[in-house]
């Protein structure tokens, strides 16, 4: 009997055994088992709400399980709070960075474990320790920089250094690439490989399957609080992982018919737009969008896409050039005028510009249409009509939970996006600007949103799609424009190009140069 109970977990850095965690009304973790070998990169994948973060929060002691056991390096360990986790050499890099913006890198890293001379904080000692860690693992960052001045990728390196400074041997990273550009993601993966090479164990929470394939050794798949699969990365493929995550076959790339291209609806002529500091962000861009097609703009974040979108939708001043919509020059018209003329906008930052998170969703459904006679009799809102309208949209777009009184803030990202898309589509636009529509969403939601965008196109709406995700650009667009430093590097059709070619344009190579090189080489 004794022998049977005695388990040999010594080869595992982490074993979580039969973990149960209940939240009011939800069984977030339902007898979950997790086995992570020492020195491997282990992915935990699943849709939003599958219980991945809940599971890891228990390993890090942020919350405590209702039942179940945790073994670290084969030894049963009770982790009641983050201090216990740190003592067990576990570190966590949270999805939302836990950094004090106004303090320096050094101060953030050592906070809570400061080296000292007497009562004084020994910043020189701390700085030296951070430099050593930086060099050992390729985590380059200036120790004296203030966090708020650093780009997101560097802030993430600070988070990793913070964890390593505390002596972590087991690192948990929660959706680390959600906020990173493709280059920053590559740099992060290099860091992860270097950590692995030096014997660290890494647990990566994600729902991006190509990342799982690129960097991990094994995968635990979760759905609705349960483990639905444990596989070695080399023995699986994205399609299989997606099926285990969602519980059905998922189209990783939506199917679409050939576009039925109609008349020109939007024409951009030599557009020049400045960014907030007054520097030129969009530098002489010209293109057009027709009814019934999707034009995708690819590019690394920060190459003028946001400013371009804002100029087209009337949110930002155009310095020179023209925006012609339905043959009318609407340059520098107000955003309200744009909307009245039939231009819809799904903004890149859904929390900042897409929703009023403190409003129930029935108000969010009529944002910008509050003075429409359908919803307002001149002085008062017609609450009953608004609610009826909202009930219909919630049903049509499958917003979950299907409650119109719920606050925008209390919906998941995917459902927030559904509310925004439903609102924009409900007003029957002829043209839709769609910016980063699936950022941070899981594959189920992405599939829904992609299908919706395609169906808009098929109804004859012109769509301008801006995305940092090349996958998304390729799967939706009928034509692809690539933006680099405020200029268009070239226009290609997805079936006539490759991700490599578009990738080259994204880093500043002009299409005609690339193609002429090719002919020379041949």
């Amino acid at each position: 009997m004794d022998n049977k109970n005695k388990k040999d977990y010594s080869q595992y850095a982490v074993v979580m055994e039969q973990i149960v965690k209940k939240f009011p009304g939800v069984l977030a973790n339902d007898h979950v088992d997790l086995f992570v070998k020492r020195g491997e990169i282990h992915a935990i994948v699943g849709e939003n709400g599958a219980g991945k973060t809940t599971l890891m929060s228990q390993l890090y002691g942020l919350i405590n399980p209702n039942s179940g056991k945790i073994y670290i390096n084969g030894v049963e360990t009770r982790i009641k709070n983050p201090n216990d986790a740190i003592a067990a050499k576990i570190g966590m890099v949270h999805q939302h960075f836990m950094l004090v913006d106004r303090l320096s890198v050094v101060e953030n890293v050592v906070l809570g474990m400061e080296p000292s001379h007497g009562p004084f904080f020994a910043i020189d000692v701390a700085r030296k320790q951070i430099r050593e860690l930086s060099e050992k693992f390729g985590l380059y960052v200036d120790p004296d920089a203030i966090i708020e001045d650093l780009p997101v990728g560097a802030q993430q390196r600070v988070e990793i250094i913070k964890v390593l400074y505390r002596g972590a041997e087991i690192l948990i990273l929660d959706e680390p690439t959600a906020v990173l550009t493709p280059q920053e993601t590559d740099e992060l993966f290099d860091v992860l490989r270097s950590l692995k090479a030096q014997g660290k164990t890494i647990i990566l929470i994600t729902h991006k399957l190509h990342e799982v394939m690129a960097v991990t050794d094994s995968v635990t798949v979760m759905r609705l609080g349960k483990v639905t699969g444990v596989v070695k990365t080399k023995d699986t493929n994205p399609k299989e992982l997606a099926r285990m995550m969602v519980g059905r076959d998922v189209l990783l790339r939506v199917e679409k018919d050939k576009a039925k291209v109609g008349d020109k609806i939007l024409e951009i002529e030599k557009l020049e737009v400045n960014e907030n500091r007054g520097l030129r962000a969009v530098n002489g861009v010209s293109f057009s969008v027709h009814k019934g097609e999707i034009v995708g703009i690819a590019g690394v974040a920060g190459n003028g896409q946001s400013e371009l979108v804002e100029a087209i939708t009337g949110l930002r001043k155009v310095e020179s050039g023209k925006v012609i919509f339905k043959d009318v020059d609407i340059t520098n018209f107000s955003p309200k005028k744009h909307r009245e003329m039939g231009m819809g906008h799904i903004p890149e930052d859904r929390l900042k510009r897409g929703l009023v998170t403190a409003f129930p969703i029935y108000y969010n459904f009529i944002l910008g249409k509050h003075d429409d006679p359908k919803f307002c009799d001149g002085s008062f809102l017609k609450i009953q009509d608004i609610k009826k309208f909202s009930e219909e949209l919630v049903k049509e777009f499958d917003v979950r939970p299907p409650l119109i009184n719920i606050l925008g803030a209390n919906l998941s990202g995917g459902n927030q996006q559904k509310v925004i898309i439903a609102r924009e589509i409900a007003f029957e636009p002829d043209f839709l600007v769609v910016s980063q529509p699936t950022r941070g969403l899981d594959i189920g939601a992405i599939e829904f949103i992609h299908k919706t965008i395609i169906s808009m196109r098929d109804k004859g709406i012109g769509v301008l799609l801006i995305s940092m995700e090349l996958e998304e650009i390729f799967s939706l667009s009928d034509r692809i424009l690539v933006m680099y430093e405020g200029k268009i590097m070239g226009e290609v059709r997805p079936e006539e190009t490759s991700t490599e070619e578009v990738g080259m344009m994204m880093t500043g190579h002009r299409l005609e140069d690339l193609r002429s090189q090719e002919t020379q080489e041949v």
């Binding site: 836990m98 004090v100 913006d101 101060e107 953030n108 474990m113 009562p119 004084f120 904080f121």
Partner: protein
């Protein structure tokens, strides 16, 4: 017009103006430091006004009953810390609204002092004269022209105020505790995940604000005068908050701003007493506005440039 120019020149060449500036600045420096401690850890403390008031009263009461102004100071500190503890308890322990809690404490202090004044001294308005904290005389220095009159004989609390600025600067920017205070005021969640006890640090910040505001209040009543008058703090707690903001929540910045307000106030006192102006008595109310108008101007001009700690005023609720 000539009379005005002459009057202003008279003010500036008189060492009394500079001595008065130091005296007027001292309570503001103390209270502004109190604000810095509290808000650095993320707790807005408009109760400074009330803490000063009750401490001013406590100083006189202690001195009156014991005959020893140092016991008065001790009672002032005790009352000040108690009031701060009340604010801490409401706004940290119970995550209450910090403005409401602060306002309540101001009203509480006005009520307690107004009531006790009549109970203990038998008349409204002001207390009897009591012994004040003895001034520090710099020996022969008093004979030095100009400077002797300026700093030759000052309350020890003036020195304590400036020493506190230096002490606080080192504490906040150079020690482990200070780093933790700043982190808790800017991102309590982050500090919490690193094992910093957010609540304890915030209690420390608020209680220290009680200590310093109480020193400022005690200085008002037993620093020189030896008497308490009703509503003696007279808006200084708010001026101190303005000084803290203009000083960008740093001890040294707050000190300079407090000196600016102190100088404005001293200037207005001195100008009024210039005989050449033949001022009517009711103009004192107009002159009394000078520091507040200065506050308005400076706040509207500077506030954009100074930034409060990110989590200032937001209760931390651990879920």
């Amino acid at each position: 017009m000539n009379a005005w120019v002459q009057a202003i020149i008279n003010v500036f060449i008189n060492p009394v103006f500079y001595r008065s500036t130091l005296n007027q600045s001292t309570p503001l420096i103390f209270a502004a430091l109190g604000g810095v401690y509290s808000e650095t850890t993320g707790v807005v403390n408009i109760a400074l006004e009330g803490i000063m008031l009750i401490a001013a009263f406590g100083g006189v009461v202690g001195s009156y009953f014991t005959g020893n102004p140092w016991y008065g100071l001790a009672l002032a500190l005790l009352l000040g810390i108690s009031m701060a503890a009340l604010h801490a308890w409401a706004s940290i322990r119970y995550a209450g609204d910090q403005i409401i809690s602060g306002t309540a404490i101001i009203l509480l202090a006005q009520g307690i002092t107004g009531f006790s004044l009549v109970e203990l001294f038998g008349k409204p308005g002001s207390t009897d004269l009591v012994r004040s904290i003895p001034l520090v005389n710099l020996g022969g220095f008093e004979e030095v022209p100009f400077f002797g009159k300026m700093v030759g004989s000052l309350s020890p609390l003036v020195y304590v105020a400036f020493a506190s600025v230096v002490f606080s600067w080192y504490l906040i920017y150079k020690t482990k505790l200070g780093l933790r205070m700043r982190s808790v005021g800017n991102n309590p969640e982050a500090a919490d995940t690193l094992g910093v006890n957010v609540y304890n640090i915030r209690y420390f910040g608020v209680l220290m604000s009680g200590v310093f505001a109480a020193l400022g209040g005690a200085f008002l009543s037993i620093g020189e005068l030896g008497q308490f008058t009703e509503n003696m703090s007279n808006g200084r707690g708010f001026i101190a908050l303005a000084a803290m903001i203009i000083g960008n929540w740093s001890p040294t910045g707050a000190m300079w701003a407090a000196i600016l307000f102190g100088a404005a106030s001293a200037f207005n006192d001195q100008l009024q007493s210039q005989g050449v102006l033949h001022l009517a008595t009711n103009t004192q109310y107009l002159f009394g506005m000078i520091p507040y108008i200065l506050t308005l101007i400076v706040v509207s001009g500077f506030v954009g440039k100074s930034r409060a700690p990110t989590a200032d005023g937001i209760p931390y609720i651990k879920d």
